[in-house]
Each structure stands twice: as structure tokens, then as C-alpha cells.
Amino acid sequence: MDWSFLFETLKTLLAGVPLTLQLATTALCTGFVLAACIATLAESAFAPARWFSRLYVMLFQGTPLLVQIFVIYYGFGQISFLRSSFAWPLLAQAYWCAILALSLNTSAYGAEIIRGAIAAVPEREIEAGRAIGMAGLLLRRRVIWPQALRYGLANYGNEAILLLKATSLASVITLMDVTGLAYRLVSKTYRSEEIFTVAGLIYLAMTFVIATCVHMLEGHLNPSRRV
């Protein structure tokens, strides 16, 4: 085994970690905000808002992320009003296209997680809040959201891991994240097994960190279940 080559590869690919993490965390944060909005619309009393939310989720869950990235990166350039709009300086860059696609995509899954987590909050605990005079934001802030967080955290942690791995698709629109750098190195050296193995190990290390953080947070939020 060529240890010095593996070590050189690792050094090269680690340079892509900041970009990978940037894509993942930015998309995770904006995706969460979007997801919360979409989940709120899903419970709206106004029917068209519910239809929109349903359509949104269906659209982004029902098409491959790769296709979404292509549509945003290659497709938006064909639309003339977008080219002349204020958003074009951003949309012309692969980086922002990737962020947009990842955010939209994760928000659809996130919305479903949030909706499910809120639905899982026991009705009787909400009722106990009402019975002492809580309502509206107070009831949400003190009873519903803290409980929903506990129900949704594990699923959202999974989504974060999926998202981190999904950032590798950004390499197809020229971004030099871990996968992008790995591709470039392969085309120079033709040593794909070793290079992609190293890339895989880097992703594994990152997802391990996320999973551990989520697990620790879960334990912190559920002290009664810690034994």
C-alpha cells in the first residue's frame, strides 16, 4: 500500500472540507427556516396555503436533487427575466446555485419532519397548557415546540447527515468540495480506488461527528430517559 500517496491525497481532499461544511451548514440553516414556514403553511386554515405546501413538498421530494441542481444552474440562465433580475449576480455562481438547490431540497424533507414532530406532541399535554390559561405563542413556546424538538431531533439529525452527503453533488457544477477535488485528482492520477476511499473516509468522519452531536443533544434534552 502506497502510504505516502494516501497521505498526499488526504491532504489534498481535506482542503475541500471547509466548502463541504459551508454548503451543508448554510443549506441546513436556510432549509430549516424554509421548512418551518412550509410546515406552518401545511397546518394553515387557508386551503390554498395547504395546497402550496403539499405541492412544494411533492415537487422537491419527487425529483432527484441532481436534476434540481441542473435546473437551477443551467436552466435559470435561459430565463431572461432572471438574468436581468437582482438575484442574477448570485444565481450566476455555482456556489449559490448549489446552496439554493440544497436548501430547497432539504426544506421539503425538513417540513415533513417538523410537521410530524408537532403532530406527535401529546394532545393531553397541550390541553393541560390550555387548562391553565396558555394559548397562542406562549403555548407553542412552552409546551408544543420543546416537545416537538424532542420528537423531531433524531429525524432532523438524519436529514443533516443526508444533506452533508448530498453536498457531494455540488461537484458536478464545478464546485471544488471534497468530491470535486477527488474527481480532479482522479483525472490527474487515475488512482480512483484510493482517492475515493479517502474521500469516503472523510465523509464518514464528518457524519460521525454530526451523529455524535445529535446523540449528545438528545441525551441532554431527555434526561429522564438517560439511565
Partner: protein
């Protein structure tokens, strides 16, 4: 947040709850068919009846967890305002209802403690976040209240670590720390293992002997007989009979009630 007015000295015997012709309908099912009830300060009223007689629904109407379909409701001297929307009655003034709920304590059959908060946090939640009272003062009062129901040594436990009887005693503490003018109990011992019923009933007896105003939906006949100042017997959504426990349990006052209590083979 402006603090709520605290425990105004009640006039002895003042009316705290008055329901007139209260009805509740679910689709085609008439659960309550016009219930009249007036509860006064200091009364302990047990509401009895077979399952399906509407007793829980009636109790839940009294703090508007169920919105009555018709009739008038006056809580603590305030007429509850309703509005009609597509032929159904709704709460007209949510602020009024929230304010009154904070003064009407409710104890549920399934305890309904907040599972993500400790015993002490459960008890402190309402006074701090609903009534806007001072945290240190509330902590002090919460601890005293927990001591009274014998749960102070479990203050840092989570509900899932407690027995049903212990959870229910915490739920009672959570209700009384709000300094309510009335306490509503919705079958507080029905979800408990038989050996745990006694500890909850003991706490309720203590509360009754303090002169607290209580409305209790229960199947504990001995408790209802010994502790209540008045029994209200519901049947098919109406008040079939009411009176002092002595009169009613003596028998012969209402044959339907007599038949009802005869089902309780162990009236001990």
C-alpha cells in the same frame, strides 16, 4: 407581563359557576341536553353518572376545553361570550377564557403532566409564565405545595419516573399553585391502580376540608358520599337528581340513582 389579580377574598357562598341550559352536541349526538347547575364558594360537588351520561363533557365545558353548543355559562361572575359561526358556537373572547382558565384549576384523568419538565418545573410553569409572578416567590410556594401533597422529595424527578398516584398528586399541586377559585377534577382516580387511589383521595379530602370549591367527576362512591356537600347525578345529558349525599345515598329519592349505585358492589 402584567400579573394577574391574586386571590381576591371570596364572598362566602358567592356563586362561582352558573350553567343554565347547557347543551353540547357532536354531530347528531346530543351529549348534554340542557344542564343547570350553580356552584357556590366552598361547595364540594360530586358529579356522578354512568359512562356516556355526559359528566366529563360537562366538566370540560366549565373551563371551555369543550365549547358548549348552547345555553349560558357564567364563571366567577363573568358571562362567557360566544359567537356563532356556521351554526356552531365558538369562543368569542379568547382572552376572557384564558384569564378565567388560569383561575379554574383542572385535574385530568391521565394527569397530563408535561413530560419534558421536572415535577418542580411542572408546578412552577403556570404561576411564572401565565400569571407572571416572581420566580423566587413561586419556587417557594411550589415547594410548599409539593410538600403538602407529599411530593417534595420528588421535585427533581420527571413524570415518567413516577407512579400514577404520584403523578396525579403533582398534577393537583400544579393546579392549586395557581391559587384557583375553583378546582375541577375529571375522574382523577380512574386511571390509577387500585392501591394508588387512596393517596390521591387523601389529598383531595384535605383540599375539601380546607373549604376549597371543588367539582369532581368520579366513580369513587364512598368518597363522593363522605366528602361532597352535594351530589349531582347525570343521566343521558341531563341532571336526573341532586341533593345532599345523605339524602341521595339513603335511597328512595330517585330510582335511577339507586340502580346506579347498586352497581358499585364495593361501596368502600
Amino acid at each position: 407581563m402584567e400579573p394577574f389579580p391574586q386571590e381576591t377574598a371570596p364572598l362566602p357562598g358567592a356563586t362561582v359557576i352558573k350553567a343554565v341550559g347547557l347543551t353540547k352536541r357532536y354531530g347528531v349526538l346530543d351529549v348534554l341536553q340542557g344542564i343547570d347547575l350553580e356552584a357556590h364558594e366552598g361547595e364540594v360537588i360530586s358529579i356522578l353518572g354512568a359512562s356516556g351520561s355526559g359528566k366529563s363533557t360537562f366538566l370540560r365545558c366549565l373551563n371551555l376545553l369543550e365549547v358548549p353548543s348552547g345555553g349560558a355559562l357564567n364563571i366567577l361572575g363573568e358571562d362567557i361570550r360566544f359567537r356563532l359561526k356556521r351554526g356552531e358556537q365558538h369562543i368569542a373572547d379568547a382572552r376572557q377564557v384564558n384569564r378565567l382558565r388560569s383561575q379554574v384549576g383542572m385535574v385530568f384523568q391521565n394527569f397530563c403532566l408535561w413530560s419534558h419538565r421536572t415535577v418542580l418545573q411542572n408546578v412552577m410553569e403556570g404561576p411564572i409564565h401565565v400569571q407572571g409572578r416572581n420566580r423566587y416567590e413561586v419556587r417557594d410556594e411550589a415547594e410548599k405545595t409539593l410538600a403538602r401533597v407529599g411530593m417534595l422529595n420528588r421535585a427533581e424527578y420527571y413524570p415518567s419516573q413516577l407512579s400514577g398516584g404520584q403523578q396525579q398528586r403533582v398534577a393537583i399541586a400544579r393546579a392549586i399553585v395557581m391559587r384557583p377559585r375553583v378546582l375541577l377534577f375529571d375522574e382523577p382516580t380512574s386511571a390509577l391502580d387500585p392501591e394508588l387511589v387512596g393517596e390521591v383521595l387523601k389529598v383531595m379530602r384535605d383540599l375539601a376540608s380546607e373549604g376549597r370549591t371543588m367539582l369532581i367527576v368520579t366513580h369513587e362512591m364512598a368518597f363522593a358520599r363522605d366528602v361532597s356537600s352535594r351530589i349531582v347525578f347525570l343521566e343521558k345529558g341531563t341532571v336526573r337528581a341532586q341533593g345532599s349525599p345523605q339524602d341521595l345515598f339513603k335511597g328512595g329519592m330517585d330510582e335511577s340513582f339507586d340502580r346506579f349505585i347498586s352497581h358499585f358492589s364495593r361501596p368502600g
